[in-house]
């Protein structure tokens, strides 16, 4: 089975897309916030791979084309950012301070967790960059002596968590300002959270994209400093 699929240039793409459309359908029918199409699609794809005993690498042979689009798509986030230039200029102080507050909260919480669970240096720095975009996080984890593969898993789970829970958390803490909602999503859960912020509106999406960049760069510096503590 794996062999046939490995030679197919389309199988992985087709089951990924089909799983996503099923996910959108389920969300539309049931309307629950935690039923996120991305989450449903991931679970469905994993189920299909397990049931038909397909290797992940065979699936990736064609599904990899979807990931390939991620870099140019991230570059494109500059376009809504540019069209929101006025809002960006107007809120520049809030943007910088809020991203810094978010990054600091993330790093401090991980430090506390590590102390609480008695984690060693390697496990600690593996978790440190969990809120930033995958590629930055992997770089930090590797640089500081962590396990990049675990970092990748934690980062993706964090993104899904932010995407799924963002709406509820914002409502719970009465975060209603579109700028604040966008910044919160991008700082806490990078591009996967930004996908959700874009659903809310262009301003939210632009703020979230901006937060990915700012919090990513702040984390590069912040994580190196925090890494010295354990």
């Amino acid at each position: 089975m794996s062999e046939i699929i490995r030679t197919s240039g389309f199988f992985g793409v087709v089951i990924s897309l089909a799983a996503y459309f099923i996910g959108m359908y389920v969300k539309k029918r049931l309307g629950k916030g935690f039923l996120n199409p991305l989450l449903i699609a991931a679970v469905l794809v994993i189920a299909v791979l397990l049931i038909f005993r397909i290797d992940y690498s065979a699936y990736m042979a064609s599904a990899g084309y979807l990931s390939w689009l991620l870099t140019p798509a991230t570059v494109c986030l500059a376009v809504p950012l540019y069209s929101q230039l006025q809002a960006l200029k107007k809120n520049i102080r809030a943007i910088l301070i809020a991203s810094a507050a978010g990054v600091l909260t993330s790093l401090l919480s991980i430090l506390l967790l590590a102390l609480l669970f008695g984690l060693g240096h390697a496990d600690y720095v593996t978790l440190l960059p969990k809120s930033v975009t995958t590629a930055i996080g992997l770089g930090i984890s590797e640089e500081l002596g962590g396990y990049p593969s675990i970092t990748a898993a934690v980062i993706i789970l964090t993104g899904i968590m932010g995407n799924v829970s963002g709406e509820l958390v914002c409502r719970l803490f009465r975060i209603t300002h579109p700028v604040a909602k966008g910044l919160a999503m991008g700082t806490a859960s990078h591009a996967i959270g930004t996908a959700k912020a874009l659903e809310w509106g262009e301003l939210e999406g632009a703020m979230s994209s901006l937060a990915i960049v700012i919090s990513g760069l702040l984390t590069v510096v912040g994580a190196s400093l925090f890494a010295m503590m354990i």
């Binding site: 570059v75 376009v79 995958t134 934690v154 964090t158 996908a195």
Partner: protein, 119 residues
């Protein structure tokens, strides 16, 4: 042809970003250099929004789909995740909520003040 021309511009910037990533020794991915580069080119007026708009909108709209392969790959990382499962889960579940709240509330405090200042 318009979409193709727009795609060509976007991919050209992505290529330039890969070069930057290659030559600057920081753990910053090509995608982030590309985002900043595209933003600067738009600011400088070298690229007009109309020259990339439709294709950019399309790529952004279908972005969630691009995360499915990586998310499905989580089943593969299960064994490496297991030893630090509990702190990792707390980091994912609780810390993410904390960061959303901290960022959002801080931003809201400052945007509120600035708006009042404008009045």
């Amino acid at each position: 042809m318009r979409y193709l021309r727009q795609l060509c511009i976007i991919l050209a910037i992505t290529c330039a970003a890969e070069l930057l990533h290659h030559f600057i020794p920081l753990p910053v991915p090509a995608s982030i250099y590309g985002l900043v580069l595209m933003f600067c080119l738009l600011l400088a007026g070298v690229i007009k929004p109309a020259q990339v708009k439709e294709t950019a909108d399309l790529l952004i709209e279908i972005m969630p789909v691009m995360f499915i392969p990586a998310a499905a790959g989580l089943a593969e990382s299960w064994s490496v995740l297991q030893p630090i499962l509990v702190p990792a889960l707390i980091a994912v579940l609780a810390v993410t909520v904390l960061v959303i709240a901290a960022t959002g509330l801080t931003a809201q405090a400052f945007t509120g003040k600035e708006e009042k200042g404008d009045e």
